[in-house]
């Protein structure tokens, strides 16, 4: 009887481990769409100080639709995530500071003067109000 229980225990542990892994995977998989990633690294689109994506050059219809869709989702995230005592624009701006800081070398971002810049190995040029 005892020997029959042991495999069952192993099976339960395996199921539990699989379930934990399956739960962990979706959040880790919430990553950029390949088309979005390509438009970023290709310099067609870039991060703006206001927390939204912008077009560096005139976009293809597909890129335009994709960016508009992402910006709508960002706006929704800023609206639902803005803490009490702050505005959506303030929260979007501070998030934009972080997003520009997180750009990778070669990606585009808009500087405080409104010019598109290419991120290099150094720190990006950000608005003086960024924390």
């Amino acid at each position: 009887m005892l020997k029959q229980w042991k495999p069952a225990g192993w099976a339960m542990a395996a199921i539990a481990a699989t379930a934990t892994f399956a739960l962990a995977v979706p959040s880790a998989m919430a990553q950029r769409d390949p088309a979005y990633e390509a438009a970023r690294s290709g310099g067609q689109i870039g991060e703006q100080p206001d927390g939204y994506l912008g077009f560096v050059s005139s976009p293809t219809p597909a890129v335009r639709d994709m960016v508009n869709d992402i910006n709508i989702k960002r706006k929704a995230a800023y609206t639902s995530g803005a803490p009490a005592g702050s505005t959506v624009a303030q929260f979007a701006f501070i998030t934009g500071c972080n997003l520009i800081a997180k750009t990778r070398p070669g990606e585009k971002y808009k500087g405080p003067d409104g010019q598109w810049l290419t991120r290099d190995a150094g720190a990006p040029v950000r608005d003086p109000n960024c924390p």
């Binding site: 303030q90 501070i94 972080n98």
Partner: protein, 70 residues
């Protein structure tokens, strides 16, 4: 030992007096030159920085939790 200590005390008092005279002279200069409202401006900057830092933590979480749109 006692004499030495007295000597030290006199020296210290002498220095203290010199520092006080210097401080008094400096104090007079600073009071004349100080403008009216520097403290209020500093307070405003501190409050803004506080809000920005609070939002900064929330922004980092938002980016982490929404990896597909950021």
């Amino acid at each position: 030992m006692t004499r030495y200590r007295n000597g030290m005390l006199r020296l210290t008092l002498g220095r203290w007096a010199a520092v006080m005279i210097g401080a008094a002279a400096l104090g007079g200069c600073v009071q004349i030159a100080t403008p009216d409202k520097p403290i209020e401006i500093n307070l405003n900057i501190n409050i803004r920085q506080e809000i920005a830092l609070k939002l900064d933590g929330d922004a980092k979480k938002l980016i982490e939790q929404n990896g597909d749109i950021f």
